[in-house]
């Protein structure tokens, strides 16, 4: 075990150095854009996995992304309210929404599949709401952020600023993950996941602990959505709310391995890179083929790496080390 930790520590230092250097080595703004997206989605997927790894599999994080993305954008467009503050308003609304939803779910003891299905419905509600209020939100084909180019409006001439914001957020999310691991919350939540009734009888406040992690996860997800909107300057129910994006966040975390702290990052990297790679390498030579290959790759990964890439890898490594020991 110690060997793994040692490797892990050095590996993470190297990874961090590489990530900090990368935008200075690669100057292509397209690749910088892709890397920024990878980091942003890694951040969101990590926040999602906070809940999922304790058995609260949410298929509805799209609602938090959507709230985080739409509120600051709309406040800025309509009232010129600076996103520097607007983002936090979005996060606060997302946390409040999560509080209502989470309390309702946990109060009624929704678990497992039922929780997943309810959250899936919630994701769809978020997309439909955006469409129903089409006069203000732009409806199903989206909404563009007004461009000013001012730093006070969170618009930077060098787009790499967002890369570093996303990187800092991701590091923060990883740090929080570690803190959760070392706190009593983890023990409590693990106990709750094993048996809710048993945990409750031991005096663990089931709802309180579940709520804590849910609010944290929702808030960070909304922050990710808000930054995505400020960065891409375009929001639509398909790209930042709704079922599709909620599922794609799960995809990233699960393929990377949702029980390991770097799993969501690895998953996001691989999925985004794979998506770009198949699309660009196939180009328009055979329309639709690139997407088919992308879909089949996902399918194969899910079938053959059920614990995710990091999960399967750490399992393999620990087996190997055990053999050597």
């Amino acid at each position: 075990m110690q060997a793994i930790n040692k490797y892990g520590f050095y590996g993470q230092i190297i990874l961090l150095v590489v990530l900090v250097m990368l935008p200075f080595i690669i100057t292509s703004s397209y690749l910088n854009h892709i890397m920024t997206l990878i980091l942003l989605w890694s951040f969101v997927a990590t926040a999602w996995a906070y809940m999922a790894r304790f058995g609260m599999v949410s298929l509805g994080h799209g609602i938090f992304l959507g709230i985080g993305a739409y509120f600051p954008t709309m406040m800025f467009n309509y009232w010129s309210f600076t996103p520097w503050i607007g983002i936090w308003v979005g996060v606060a609304i997302a946390v409040a929404t999560a509080a209502v939803l989470g309390y309702a779910c946990f109060r009624f003891g929704l678990l497992g599949d039922y929780f997943a299905l309810v959250t899936l419905a919630v994701a769809e509600v978020s997309a439909l709401t955006i469409m129903a209020f089409r006069e203000t939100t732009g409806g199903s084909l989206g909404y563009t952020l007004r461009a000013t180019g001012k730093i006070s409006d969170m618009q930077f001439s060098d787009k790499r600023v967002y890369y570093f914001i996303a990187l800092i957020l991701l590091i923060g999310a990883v740090y929080i993950w570690r803190r959760i691991d070392r706190s009593p919350i983890r023990l409590a939540l693990t106990a709750i996941e094993e048996s809710e009734i048993a945990a409750a009888s031991l005096g663990v406040s089931v709802i309180r602990y579940k709520m804590m992690i849910t609010l944290l996860s929702a808030g960070l997800t909304a922050l990710g959505g808000a930054l995505y909107a400020q960065y891409v300057t375009y929001v639509s129910p398909d790209t930042i709310a709704g079922v599709g994006v909620s599922l794609s966040v799960c995809f990233k975390a699960i393929l990377g391995g949702m029980f390991t702290v770097l799993g969501p990052f690895v998953g996001s990297t691989i999925i985004v890179a794979l998506e770009e790679y198949v699309r660009i390498s196939m180009g328009a030579s055979f329309l639709g083929l690139s997407q088919i290959i992308f879909g089949i790759s996902l399918l194969i990964m899910i079938i053959f790496l059920p614990k995710g890439i990091m999960g399967s890898m750490s399992l393999a490594i620990s087996r190997k080390l055990n053999r050597i020991d």
Partner: protein, 286 residues
């Protein structure tokens, strides 16, 4: 206003028939294999394309083309079981769900490669049924009758045959069913085949209503789920009744406000039901 609501009410009942049809296959797969078939709407899309190809390109009479389409979808169901579900039978539920979600990407783009991006439809002139100012959509009426007949046949199949009994046994207690000499793999294949064929049947009823394109299926899956879970997973009758409840509620709400608000109301009803009675309308606690 009253007349509008009355029309919406009739419309809602008929819509319920269409939704009920949509929910049957999903319900069966859900109840027996315990898998959330995220790509069910895409199967309906495939079925529609099959019928279109059989009828338009191969010049097979429409009703025969529909029968062939249903058979072809049964085959696709078997293939899905073989290639996607079998390897995932013991995987976590979330992985199963995501695997079927990635199947959506594959199926939609496969449809584009095979049939191209164009919209395809079979022009059918359905008779207009009119009572004074009230119009009844014959395309929906047929689907409504179809739903009732299908429910009856499914009931007979499940209650009068050994295979149906096997399906119900596996749905309730997989391990005990194995201990009774039931081969669950066979049951799963039969279920996926039936589910696939039912998606083909839905496609057949959709022919006079819609035109098909590669992204046709997406809008149907979630509502079908809501109906299935609302009515009680695996309970065909529950799904049937809840289809009508959802159909009427959405239809009337849509006339009073908008389609999106109607869908939101339906989803909120669903969420509320999950909170208060997670086993659904007619479901039994397990």
């Amino acid at each position: 206003m009253f007349e509008q609501i009355l029309m919406a009410l009739i419309n809602g009942i008929l819509l319920g028939g269409v939704l009920a049809l949509l929910a049957f296959g999903l319900n069966l797969i859900f109840g027996v294999v315990k898998i959330i078939h995220m790509a069910y709407g895409q199967f309906v899309m495939l079925g529609f394309y099959f019928i279109y190809t059989f009828h338009t390109s191969w010049h097979i009479p429409l009703l025969l083309a529909m029968a062939l389409g249903i058979a072809a979808m049964g085959l696709i169901g078997i293939l899905t079981q073989l290639l996607v579900i079998n390897p995932l039978l013991n995987a976590p539920r979330l992985n199963q769900l995501l695997a079927l979600a990635s199947l959506i990407i594959v199926v939609e783009n496969l449809a584009q490669v095979i049939w191209g991006a164009d919209y395809r439809g079979i022009p059918l002139s359905m008779p207009i049924i009119q009572f004074g100012e009230i119009f009844i959509r014959s395309s929906f009426l047929i689907a409504f009758i179809g739903a009732i007949v299908t429910l009856w046949f499914l009931y007979l199949f499940l209650n009068r045959t050994y295979l149906g009994l096997g399906i119900r046994a596996v749905a309730q207690d997989l391990e005990m069913a194995k201990g009774m000499g039931i081969n669950p793999k066979v049951i799963y294949y039969i279920t996926l085949m039936t589910g696939g064929a039912l998606s083909g049947l839905v496609a057949a009823f959709f022919v006079p209503i819609y035109t098909v394109h590669p992204h046709f299926g997406a809008s149907f899956t979630l509502m079908a789920f809501v109906i299935v879970v609302f009515g009680g997973m695996g309970n065909l009758m529950g799904g049937f009744i809840s289809a009508f409840i959802i159909g009427i509620v959405t239809s009337v709400t849509a006339v009073l406000s908008s389609k999106e608000v109607a869908d939101i109301v339906a989803l909120l009803m669903f969420i509320g039901m999950m909170m208060v009675r997670p086993e659904g309308l007619l479901g039994t606690e397990s």
